[in-house]
């Protein structure tokens, strides 16, 4: 149909529509070698030779720019170098320039290098929480590797105001603990599910109980496979000893939270210097 529109425009001598991107200072960005690398529900990501541009509605770009202004100080956070304007303006879109090019973190990457990637993602998320923000859409597809370093990405759902924290993001990664209110624990749950997901078949088809059991089991297996540390293996044994696999169904929430608490606690210990203290329910973290 776009071809159809173009043909009609040529037939009637209408000006042919061309996409133009401009830096904040008005300089035109060369899009001759631009390549669309990702189609999201509300965004499109374009890769250029020297950077990456995310195109989305203006409100999304606005939210993301605000988040980057507060968070762009950690090496596991993908940095932004400002906005860009999108023409024709009638498309009603805006853009943000991001550090790049970035390679998406795949499930295979997680299987092969679980410990390093998980530690980096956890460090980034901990930093986000330490500034008083919530990410609310943690998942593998929102993480990229830029020059070999994992970076947390996609801050359009980030919020700071504790009084206005509706649940956003991808339902598959929601903990379901608070149906209408998002907490730091939910971010951490999403992180664990994201890294456990490559080891779980048909996660989307499971109900909540099944998903919790699968996550605990997969996290345990992933850590064992990646030979994380002996200490973490001990923790996972503890999880198992506390009935993670066999008794979790009787009181899913409590068991899962307990399991995740230990899991995360030991993960923090495995990456010293990131956090000092963790409290899963209240979760006050500091760098």
């Amino acid at each position: 149909m776009c071809r159809h529109v173009q043909d009609i425009a040529e037939l009637h001598g209408l000006p042919t529509s061309r996409v133009t991107l401009q830096y904040g200072d008005g300089r035109v960005i060369d899009t001759a070698h631009a390549r669309v690398v990702y189609h999201g529900v509300r965004s499109v990501v374009i890769e250029l030779p020297d950077c990456t541009v995310k195109i989305a509605p203006p409100d999304v770009i606005e939210a993301e720019c605000s988040a980057h202004a507060a968070l762009d100080h950690h090496h596991n956070i993908r940095k932004s170098s400002g906005r860009c304007a999108v023409f024709p303006a009638s498309l009603g879109l805006g853009g943000i320039l991001l550090e790049g090019p970035g390679l998406p973190v795949s499930r295979e990457d997680v299987k092969q290098d679980f410990s390093r990637l998980f530690a980096a993602a956890l460090a980034a998320l901990t930093y986000v929480h330490s500034t008083g923000h919530l990410h609310r859409d943690v998942k593998l597809s929102n993480m990229v590797c830029v020059r070999g370093v994992l970076k947390l990405n996609d801050f359009e759902t980030v919020c700071r105001d504790p009084s206005a924290r509706p649940v956003l993001g991808t339902p598959l990664y929601h903990s379901g603990v608070h149906p209408s209110h998002f907490e730091t624990a939910d971010d951490l749950f999403a992180l664990v599910v994201s890294f456990a997901e490559p080891h779980i078949m048909d996660l989307a088809r499971m109900d909540f109980d099944q998903r919790c059991r699968a996550v605990v089991s997969a996290a345990e297996n992933a850590i064992r496979v990646s030979a994380f540390t002996e200490r973490v293996s001990t923790v996972m044994s503890t999880i198992r000893a506390r009935g993670g696999a066999s008794n979790i169904h009787s009181d899913t929430h409590t068991s899962l939270h307990n399991s995740l608490e230990f899991f995360l606690e030991q993960s923090f210990n495995a990456a010293p210097g990131i956090v000092e203290r963790t409290d899963f329910d209240g979760l006050t973290l500091s760098s």
């Binding site: 159809h4 009609i8 037939l11 009637h12 669309v36 529900v41």
Partner: protein, 455 residues
Amino acid sequence: MASVEDLDREIAQLEQIIRDDDEALEKESVSVRERLLLLLPLREKENKLRDDRKELKAQCRPGYLFLPRFAPFGSSCAACAVCACAYPLLFCSSSPCSAARTEKHRKWERSGCARVSSRNQGSRYKVRFTLSCVLFELLFVRRFTLLIVPELSIRDRTARALLAMIESPLFRNDPGALFRAQMELLNLLDTRTDTNVTDAWVSVHISALEDTKYWVEAVVNRKVARQCMTASLFKDDLLLAFRWLSLRLEAPTIIMTDVVQERLAREKNRKFELEIGYLPHVLSITLAAAAGQEGLTYALEDFTERKPKGYQQHAVREDVRCLVQGQRLHPSESNTRVVPASSMLDAIDANAEPFGHLLKVIETHSMQTVQPVQMCLFFANIWAVHRFVATYENRELSRIDISPPLPFEKHRYTPESRLLSFQRLRSAYTNRGTATLLDAMPLTHRGLSLLQALR
């Protein structure tokens, strides 16, 4: 009926026999002379028909077709053309017509002489038809209570009766009778057509013709070149991606629960579904495809538009209007289905209804005079789309191209023509009880680029 050339050939042979072969003339004189006596008037009539056609072609106004007066437009009008009886013209596809067919009618039909007409037959036809209309008025319009108003002329009364007949629910399922009535009403009311009417030919505004019949008249009978073509590429990836994004952004607000329910009901109870519910969604897609293009926009059918003078019915509005610099061109049409066929050419003709409608829209609005190439869109609801390009030379339709190819043989749809997925929409409806346009959209923008080959 034999053509003029065939008649000429046979007459020449007979004359040759008479001239050269005296013996044969002696033996076969009676039969040869009888045959000649039969053929010569026929040739004269055929010549007159041909001359009339040439003359009328020169006179015919834009937007009008001239057709043989007694050609079998309706389902069973051929029998009526033989004796020009008026009764079957009114009720031609109902049972009385079939019952009234005599062996003589069938014989004439078999011999292919259904188009024969004469001045006398025309006059008889007119008288009987008028009387039938008056009878109809008495029976159905005035409901046995009123007599004919004496001051009205028979022409006025006939027109009123015809109008009542067209609007009457009694004839809603009888397209042949309706068409005849519309044609006669046109002859009565529109004096412009009088100059185009003879005993043998009648000019008809194309809005009076059914879409399918118009396609047959304007394309099939005139042997207009038509073909299916593969889709051409659209190369601007960024623009394509951005337009697809703009549609995705709007899609969650477009509720399609009714459409799914309609479709599911169709699968259970009905053969076809209504297309009206789809048209706003078609508009959303066309608007997204044209996002950012200056001077080009789309709009829904304008139901408030008044019927132009001289139109027979208001069947010449497109489903989605394309406005180029505010000017209405390149119409889009939606239908509930694409009819597959055994070959590509058959597939085009099998979809004569939407394509005939597109041609009617183009030609009644004189779009071909504004732009000799009309690039129309044809949607099978919102699940598939094809481009229909009509090319005119000297205001005569010369070529029709359709891309991507229509379904034929066992191929349901070509991948390029697929726009949205009903399966995805249905699964969303099954899971949640509601569905939006976003549910029907594939993740990639292949749908919007559909005139682009698969990458």
